[in-house]
Each structure stands twice: as C-alpha cells, then as structure tokens.
C-alpha cells in the first residue's frame, strides 16, 4: 500500500492447467501486493487447490505464467527458474500451510526441530540461536514452552496447525499460501487460529493467498476475493464488495447459501 512497493509481488497471467482432457483451471490472472490477503473461494472441485499448487511452484501449469518479485527487485518467472531456485524460494521466501498439518510437518521429530529445520535450510548453524528462534516462534503461536521437545504426533489438531504456521513463518517469508487452514478444526480452536493468522499477517505485512470454502473465514482474513467455479474465475473484487453485493449468479448462490451466525 506504500509507494515503496508500486510493483506487485506476484503477477499471474493466463494460468491454465489441464489434467489430460480434464480442466484444472483456466486463464487465471491477478496481481498481488505486499500486505494483501486474497481469498480464493468456491465449491470442491472448482480448481482452488490446483491454482494454489501452480502458484507455489509445486505443479507445472499447462499455460500462462507466474512472475515473482525477488528480494533484489527483479522479477522471475516461477516456471522458468531452475528447480533448485524454485525449491529455495519455497523453503525461504514462501510459506505453505496445508489443511492437513501432517503434510506440512515432520511428525516424528520434535516441535522445536520442525521449526529449526526451516532455519537450517537457509544456512543457520548455531544451535543456540536456532533453539532460541524456535522457542520465540512457539510462543508467538501460543504453544507452551515445555512442549518444544515433543513431536507433533502428540499434539492436538489445533496445536499442529499452529506449529505448522510457526514452521512456515520462522524464515520471514514474504508470501504465504494457505489451503483451508482452519478446515476440520473445532470452532473454538478455529477462532484462536484465525485471530492468530489475522495478527501475524498484519504484523509481518505478508502477502497471502488463502483457499477456503468458508466465506466467514474469507471475510475475516482477506481484503480481496476471487470466486471460482469449474476451474474458471467467476468474479473478483474487494472481499466485502463481493460478499455484500455479489454480481454473478454463482457468487449470489454462494453468498445466499450460508447460514447467518
């Protein structure tokens, strides 16, 4: 939002994915700036998760491009850079929060190890500093210090999700991808996680792409929204605008299908 970052962090054009003859998503394009949280909403099978995997360099698109502004200021096409470079970004500058924490964590090693591993991947070697950083991050995500040596296997669902967030944020990423981060959690656990995410995203001025089918989550966490159906973008705009004045038939159906809390 400042004049210092007039160029988008992420520039997406014509992004398309075919699984053989079946469409994953077609012709998706948008710009994302630092501090912006964009929600991608739509029913199961609408292409939300496909899109997230294309954007985060995990699955190669059939067409289109994803341009990312590197820390030096130059722009790089995520799908034209080398594989090691893409992995390096994924380990450092980006975060990816999975709905299923087991996919984002190593279940057999300690919580502190889970957080420390990301730091070691970017070259941290001092055990004391790694441990201290892990302690700090576990505190930020409200995990008791005396659980640092326990593996996430022994954690509850909400704790695992918070640990996954700590593991992602410890390297101070600039862009974070979230796939249904509150899915499958109890409502009280969800509220705590949402509050935590909301604060962290604001404090760190992160750019984030949040896939969710929960419009209340989208309203709370995002400032922009993209509605998808059958692999295509139906409508985009400010989150409150699309939710309060949806224009397209499918968006109107989505908004009118939720029960008011």
């Amino acid at each position: 939002m400042n004049s210092a970052c007039e160029n988008p962090l992420l520039k997406v054009e014509g992004l398309t994915k075919w699984y053989g003859r079946r469409l994953g998503c077609r012709d998706v394009g948008f710009d994302l700036y630092e501090g912006e949280v964009m929600a991608v909403v739509g029913e199961s099978g609408s292409g939300k998760t496909t899109l997230l995997q294309l954007l985060s360099g995990q699955m190669e698109p059939s067409g289109g491009c994803v341009l990312y502004r590197l820390r030096g200021g130059s722009e790089a096409d995520v799908w034209r850079m080398s594989e090691p470079m893409r992995r390096f970004l994924f380990r450092t500058d980006w975060g990816y929060v999975h709905q299923d924490a087991q996919l984002g964590l190593r279940m057999g090693i300690s919580a502190g190890g889970n957080v420390g591993e990301r730091l070691m991947a970017v070259g941290w070697r001092n055990y004391g500093a790694i441990r201290q950083s892990a302690v700090d991050w576990l505190a930020r995500v409200e995990i008791d210090r005396d659980r640092i040596d326990d593996p996430p296997r022994t954690y509850s669902g909400g704790m695992r999700q918070r640990l996954q967030i700590a593991r992602n944020l410890v390297t101070a990423p600039r862009l974070i991808f979230m796939d249904e981060p509150t899915g499958g959690l109890d409502v009280s656990v969800q509220a705590r996680l949402l509050d935590l995410l909301r604060r962290l995203v604001a404090d760190l001025n992160l750019a984030a792409i949040l896939v969710t089918h929960d419009l209340a989550v989208a309203r709370l966490l995002s400032n922009r929204i993209m509605v998808m159906k059958a692999g295509e973008v139906v409508e985009t705009g400010l989150t409150d605008q699309v939710l309060d004045d949806p224009r397209e038939p499918y968006s109107q159906l989505l908004v009118s299908s939720i029960l008011p809390a």
Binding site: M1, Y33, E36, A191, R192, L194, D195, R198, A202, L220, N223, R224, T236, G237, L238, D240, Q241, D244, D245, R247, E248, P249, Q252, L253, S256
Partner: protein, 229 residues
C-alpha cells in the same frame, strides 16, 4: 474540488436467483460535500440511503456515474478504482460508521478500536482508542474483553469509538445515534461538531430530528433519485 463529489450515480440490483429480477434503487444521483459540511440523507426506509453510503465506501458496486474522493491534489473515482486503490482510500481518506459491530473472536474492545488505526504506531493507536472508548462511556473494566458477549448498546458504542477513531477527511455515518441514550447521543453530536471544525466532509443518515438539526448543514431527499422499477 470538494472532498466528495457524486454525479450521475445509478445502482440496480439484479437477483439471479429470482430469475434475474431487477431492483433499480438509484438513478442520476449527484451531490457534493464540502470540507466542514455535513450533508444529511433523508427519505423513508427503503429509499436507498444506506445504499448511497455503501456506494461511496466501495462496498456496493456503482453501475453508472462517478464517485470522486479527493486524495491530495487528485481524486479517486471509487466507481472505477481497483480494490487496492479503494483499500488505500479507506485507510487514509474514507471513514464509515455503522450501527453494528462485526466482532472478531478473541480481540479485546480496546484493540478492536485501535485496529482501525492501521497506520499509527501501536502505542498511539491504543491511546487514542482509550480516549474514544471513554468518550462513549464504555467502562474501563470492559476494555480488555472481547465484545462478542457484550450487550447490544455496548457493542454499538465500541463500534462508534472505532468508527470515529481515524480522522479521515470524508466520514460516512449510518444511523450513529439509533437507540443510544441521551449522554451518548450528545457524545456523537459533539464529535461530529469537532470533525466539522477540522474540515471533515460528512454524509449522514440520522432519523432523530433533533440530532439531524444539530449536525446537518444540508439535506438531500434520496427519493428524488429513486429509480422507477
């Protein structure tokens, strides 16, 4: 130019789930608000008064016309601006006070108010939040608690504190005094007067005749711009 200028604004809702039913609300709406001026929107319930405020805030999409909000030496047309431009405008130029608080789980009342001051240092934001909560007579023992379980009146006052906290040059008020007691109604009137002296351009919907007379400089009857079905 004025801080806020609308011209030729039209809005129609199309209800696709009701077979594409079209509900025209406004057509050819135009007015402006000068610095230090309070424009009151009048008309019966359903005339589209709240829709006008939502269009200005960018919460509703504008079908036709322009909604110019002054930003330094230039102006941004909310009807055509990108989401990013509207968000930036809301942070710096455009305030909006409604009756209803959208409570966020686990966030205490003081932080709910301070969060409206995104660009201020946290300590200063919390200090201003405390001043605003005190002006709306919210007891200090409630400041640390999340408002979700507060009474309707308490939530409304916290929302007023939040809405009045940022000192934006354009301020939209949707029924700020509805169901308030006399002391808090006076607090609203006093705050509006202060903001007018500071040069804020205000557009207000106020049903209470006494309050409207106390704050409004101009009245606009929205039914004049009602779109015929």
């Amino acid at each position: 130019m004025q801080p806020l200028e609308l011209s030729g604004v039209a809005k129609t809702f199309t209800m696709h789930l009701q077979g594409g039913l079209r509900l025209p609300v406004l057509r050819d709406l135009g007015f402006s608000a000068a610095a230090g001026e309070c424009v009151a929107l009048t008309g019966p319930s359903g005339a589209g008064k709240s829709s006008v405020l939502k269009l200005i805030f960018g919460n509703y999409r504008c079908d036709e016309g322009s909604i110019m909000v002054r930003d330094g030496d230039t102006a941004v047309d909310v009807a055509r601006a990108s989401p990013r431009q509207i968000l930036s405008l809301r942070r710096r130029k455009l305030g909006y006070v409604t009756q209803f608080l959208r409570a966020v789980p686990r966030v205490g009342a003081l932080d709910v108010v301070a969060d409206a001051l995104i660009d201020a240092p946290r300590a200063a934001a919390r200090e201003r939040a405390a001043t605003m909560l005190a002006r709306f007579n919210v007891p200090e023992r409630l400041w640390g608690l999340p408002p979700a379980t507060f009474s309707g009146g308490e939530q409304q006052r916290i929302n007023l504190a939040r809405g009045f906290a940022p000192e934006t040059p354009v301020l939209l008020l949707d029924e700020p005094t509805a169901s308030l007691d006399a002391a808090n109604r006076d607090a609203v009137v006093e705050l509006v007067r202060e903001r007018k002296e500071q040069g804020t351009a205000i557009v207000a919907i106020v049903h209470d005749d006494l309050v409207r007379e106390a704050i409004a400089d101009t009245s606009i009857d929205v039914t004049r711009f009602a779109a015929a079905a």
